[in-house]
Amino acid sequence: MYVYDQYDQKIIDERVAQYRDQTDRFLAGKITEEEFRPLRLQNGLYVQRLAPMLRIAVPYGLMNSKQLRKLAEISRTYDKGYAHISTRQNVQLNWPRLADVPDILAELATVQMHAIQTSGNCIRNTTTDQFAGVACDELEDPRPYCEIIRQWSTLHPEFAFLPRKFKIAVCGSTQDRAAIHHHDIGIELLANNRGEIGLKILVGGGLGRTPAIGSVVCEWLDKKHLLTYLEAILRVYNKHGRRDNKYKARIKILVKAMGVDAFRDAVEHEWRALRDGPSTLTDEELMRARAFFDGPDYQELDGIVASAELDAQCTRDPIFGNWVKRNTQVHRVPGYRIVTISLKATGFAPGDVTAEQLELLAELSDAYAFGEARSTHQQNMVLGDVQIARLYALWQQLQAARLATPNIGYLTDIICCPGGDYCSLANAKSLPVAEAIQMRFDDLDYVYDLGPIELNISGCMNACGHHHIGHIGILGVDKKGQEYYQVCLGGSQSKDASIGNILGPSFKQEDMPDVIDNILTTYVTLREEEESFLETYRRVGIDPFKERVYVQAD
């Protein structure tokens, strides 16, 4: 992974000192509430319903064991002994004290971490595929480009006061696991007809109040132009994005209003002045960035022998076998597998992880995965490089710590925002809905029979739970002071990106497990052969679901 040198460290340290001074001045009454707001937000600090919330940046979801231990320590010292993995691969603390935040940031800086631009109207943490570098379907590792973007966007002087927040995701594989169609900018590593890998640039995707799928602004861009091209896009947005209405301020609205062709022309116009300038990436810089992600020192293993032994183990211990089937994936290197650690055990808030679990993950990553772990936007954790021969030992330790729930990609692997229990923006609670659904569908055989289903829950229109792009999406709404839940069906975050359609009038919280049951029963009744939920939905449309759910409700 990327390792800071003296320059990176200096920038992060100076940022801590700057924020410490700002906090001191705020506490001394020398900065108004209004002026302090963007300053604290751009250092990750929200003021929430019950306490402040600190969002710590995890660049493209990659952490080492030292950082995991530090997070555990911080969550114990400054918080209540647990943390939360967000839907943008970051780590959130729910109960820090505002006055302690400079100290927390100083602690983070000792392990090359920070909370810069995890909130506010600026360029946020760049996200990517949680299987980057280890996936079999990867054309090229996206993380060097994420790191280059991280450095460029960190404390960018021109783009710290944008009309609205700005999110970039990069994907380098056949399957899109980074939801690039739903970001302000989505970047796909792609070969042109000469076989050279370059960048396809999408602009104007997003969720929130007005969900949109990104438009192609550039079909293929030479990698060396990455930063100048991004700068041109951001400059068009900074100058022309709407500032009169925060609900119409995202770049998706600008792209729609201008039309993608006019938007592209404006970008090209800005780009003419920047193109081939000093921010053009050099071969040396591209090589430097790549070198950090070369991959660990893999052993040369016989993949066929390892798989055969694994099969035998799985047969001997079917519970282990089931976990292998559900929570591990094929690795590009023979003899290794990718392990996803579910943070979706029933009875625990999706994405929550205790200090003890963080320390265990640190220990396990040291013992089994070259000291690295990843956070996912589905709010789970990943050990990227585990020897197949050592999976059984790893699984036993995970099981003892309640981290072996075999549900990755299934109904109960719910993406869920913190909702009305924590968040001051939320219209409704989301965690109790997730838990009620997990409890209702506790029969794993039924859950597996349903096949892969993405169920996403957001407590409000801001859509942190990505409800629009869940196969089944649930949105908390406020109806005359009462919490209700709207359901949408047919969203997808993959390359076949789509935005879910609203099923109809919203439901009460206590009815939600029944509603989901009716939707699933409809699917099971109508599916043909091996059809997935999404495939059936796309074939039959929303009406059969509507009929069953609302007839039953009457």
Binding site: Y7, A17, Q18, L155, P157, F159, A160, R243, P278
Partner: protein, 159 residues
């Protein structure tokens, strides 16, 4: 006479403030864009841009203009940062002043984008604000104050 930060020091403003109600501004008086477009001789002129007024109309006169003020209606309106870079990238060398409602915590970013004068709404904070110009000694990106991005300047000594 009002005061401002210029070239890193607190100093007096030698320009007459903008008066939108007069047709022809006095010599050494700051014009709004409308007034400035009217004046025949742009040599030694000073013009203030509001958010929403891009600097393109100025581009043909950059050698003649002595002062451009970019006015921030609220500190969270960041258009002025792009306007400033635009002006500098088109070769403007005169005084580039931030005016209106920005805050001292933006000084580093403003300077990086090409501003060299800062007229804070609250003059009493000018001396204290100087400290914020020194918040950072290193930067990742290219900007006006440092046209080379860090990746073209890194010396590898620690790895």
């Amino acid at each position: 006479m009002s005061r401002l930060i210029k070239q890193g020091l607190v100093t007096d403003d030698t320009w007459l403030p903008l008066n939108p109600d007069i047709a022809i501004p006095a010599p050494r008086q700051i014009c709004n864009l409308e007034q400035w477009l009217q004046i025949a001789d742009k040599n030694g002129s000073a013009v203030q841009l509001e958010s929403g007024q891009e600097p393109a109309p100025l581009f043909d006169f950059l050698e003649q203009i002595q002062l451009v003020v970019i006015h921030f209606p609220v500190f969270t309106d960041g258009r002025g940062f792009s306007y400033a870079r635009d002006l500098r990238e088109h070769g403007y060398c005169g005084e580039l002043r931030a005016g209106g409602h920005f805050i001292r915590d933006q000084l580093t970013y403003l300077r990086r984008c090409g501003f060299d004068a800062f007229q804070l709404a609250d003059e009493s904070g000018l001396e204290d604000a100087l400290a914020s110009l020194g918040d950072f000694s290193e930067h990742y990106q290219a900007a006006i104050d440092q046209p080379l991005p860090l990746f073209r300047r890194r010396t590898r000594t620690t790895r």
